[in-house]
Amino acid sequence: MSTSRYRYLFSPLRLGPVVVHNRIVFSAHLTNYAEDGLPTEQHAAYYAARAAGGAGLIITEEHSTHPTDWPYEKLIHGFHPEVIHGYRRITDAVHKHGTPIFAQINHNGGQASSMFSRLPVWAPSPLADPLFREVPKAVDRHEIAQIVAGYAKVAEHCRSGGFDGIELQCSHSSIVRGFLSPATNIRTDDYGGSLANRARLLLELVAAVREAIGHQMALGVRLCGDELIEHGTTIDEAVEVARMVEAQGLTDYINTSIGVATASLFMIEASMQVPPGYAMFIPAALRAAVQLPVVGVGRFKDPIQAERALAEGHADHIGVVRGQIADADFAAKTRAGMADDIRLCLSCNQECVGRMGLNRWLGCIENPLTGRESLTDPVRVSAKPRRVVVVGAGAAGMQAALAAAQRGHRVTVLERDSQSGGQVRLAATVPSRAEFGDLVRNQFRFCTEAGVEFRFETPADAESVLRLQPDLVVVATGAEPARPYWAPPDATRVVDVRDVLEGRAVPTGRVIVIDEVGFHQATSVAELLADRGCTVTVATPGMVVGQDLGITLDMEHWQVKAAARGIEQRTDLVPMGFSVSDSDGSGVLTFLHHPTGTNEELACDWVVLACPQQPVEWLYHELRGAAPAGVRVERAGDCIAPRRAHAAVIEGERVGSAP
């Protein structure tokens, strides 16, 4: 009502027997917080933080319903009765904030491997999954009955564990999806062929789970609206399945998703390359066909975007996952009219999605607390405010400044440039990477609000820093390009990516971009230059350009865009030398093709380097020498060793929180 300018986002809605107080859902996602197949205190603390932050509904990560399902190490084995204790810890922690919490239960089917389970994986048909490349066992009727019994058993565990509802993941990595999809179900019995047959398992599971949980708990079904694979489920079939589920009369809501986790994952947890709200057509189509409330997902990072989708009737609830990973108080801030204070998600996927594939716990590039909720004490204001001087207003420096200022210390940041943001700001000047800049924009805003003083265009040396009489100096001077040995100093057209982004160099004609770091540096600049009309080749000593783009789900997009822009990709090429052949600076780049040991020469007008950088550390050493006793000198980020932004944020937080 009067508390909110949002007409729909904060109006309550009933999901079966459960009243959900607002429309913001923290929907299911992997966390890798489980240990030995059991939920942990970290799970409880993680979900509780989002409940405290105002989420309307929390849906946990999946709980496996059967021992044949163990596709990744840190999966919760819901079929073990021991999980109930952990469930209680989670539900109690979340209920403390008056927030309902549902459990997602699942069997991943053929989208798994036998590596952990040492049992053959089960699927409707013996077709190998494209990611796991393992031929599954086609389940018989007896095994189908076991699957159904497993779901019912886990649903009972969830009921005993205090959950308010159950969600069946039938969408992007599930045996139910396997049955529903014509691409993975080629059975000829009652469970294959017609859609009614393919949906049989789903309806059996719904009936069994409803039987197990009774009518005091909500039951939802998560459906995939478009698998984005050839011969897969598309929106028309998804709509039909939703109708069947509604007609069965046992389900309280429908959640949605897009893509198949083992084939088109990059469209499930889309990075900033994909427009926000891209999957909205799915809940819209389902909602037009059924009366059940429908949850929409897909890069909702801003409350107005969510409100708009609700107002246009595209969904009844909005899944905001990464938005609440980055800022647990997403909903509360919105409700309080402080939407501008939300630490917006970048959809960079570096520390959340990116770490899942690496078997590491879920974190966030912007929010050092994420993944550490159970270990971190609340920020307390220091009884002894200290004077902190930070040199450098990049990601590391600003995080240090923010952490210190939040603890009541007086912080001044000295920055040589006329604005904050450092390399991150620069990286974000490439159009498709613009959202990355929110990292430093968010930091700057929070710093300003916390009372940090910024002095721009203020180069620092030891003397000028110490004149400010600091108790702690944080050196965060970043890194600078290091010119490789093979690039002649006088080759004016061999430039760094930073020269291009800062406008010091404007390459034209034939450009070779050298990718020695394997992340966005080379590919984003290549894309930028191709858009400007250059003929671009990206060359790398590695086996693939942009080697690490895969973990953030940017690789597929890069490949598509490179192809569309005619960007040539060359691999296994080690640059050996450059000779200027023309007075304008153009020349010939010599490579060693290391698999064959042969040399290759490529003529070009410009060479743009994305190569390892070197730390800017002189100030740190100068200060260590000059600082009087009692003045601590610390450093953070690239000036220790050049790495990616998350390292800068974590180190900044670490030194800034302990002056």
Partner: protein, 300 residues
Amino acid sequence: MIALIPVREGALPLGADEAVAEAGGEAIVAGDGTEVAARHLRTAVRVGLAELGTFAPGAWAAALTAELAAHDVIILPGSADGRDLAPRVSFALERPLLAGATRIGPEGATLVRRGGLVEEIHRSAGPFVATLEPGCRGIEPLTRDAEIRPLSLAPAGAHDAEHLAMMAPDPSTIDLGEAARIIAGGAGLGGPAAFALLREVAAGLGASYGASRVAADLGWVPQDRFIGTTGVTVDPRLYVALGISGAVQHVTGLGTPEHVIAVNLDASAPMMGMADLAIVTDARALLKVLADRLGATDDG
């Protein structure tokens, strides 16, 4: 079911296509310039043209009665003219009116009440007339051209108001959400004086003016001019952003403009990344120049 679409000078009213789609593609287009208007419909399958001249609800209702009596459900768009005509048709046909519907079917309609807080489902025992709220359902354009035929109607007289003239829309008063061209300013403009200039420039460009949240919060512009998260959401064809950094909260309120121009001293502002034309310059100084240029054009 059939849609009745009142048109003026060949221009369709708000919500015309939605009304036709709701009626399943059957429509009667009434007014002046009906054929032109009918060809602009994207959801019509079959259209009857009732060339009745300038809007005159009394006379139109009388003239259309015989033609409409054959249809059980008559759907009018909830536009200004549609809302005015519907009760006259309902009265002439002696049928109930279900006004302000968001969904209309052969048996009845869902109506919004209390300014959109509640809905009522009404069932009608017999034929009825309804108006459909514009924007409530969206449309899926058909690829096939509609079959168009003129209707022969006996003219009817009634005591109606007399149309004197149409007045062109005034971009400065038009609802920002409907504006096709928007020029907006942000904190980078520095103060209320610049927004006075912005209004002039907007007028010169035939555009509506808007602002970012910061500018509205500082009171430089009224709150109803603020585009973004907590303000107005817009969907212009052209968007010119002066001194707006382009925080996501602003950008998500923007819709999908065909063309974007951004002006900012900060070359790395996200708005600059979105723009087709991004110019690094002082937006305030630029605004003065633009005001001069456009003012001079007017004088000449």
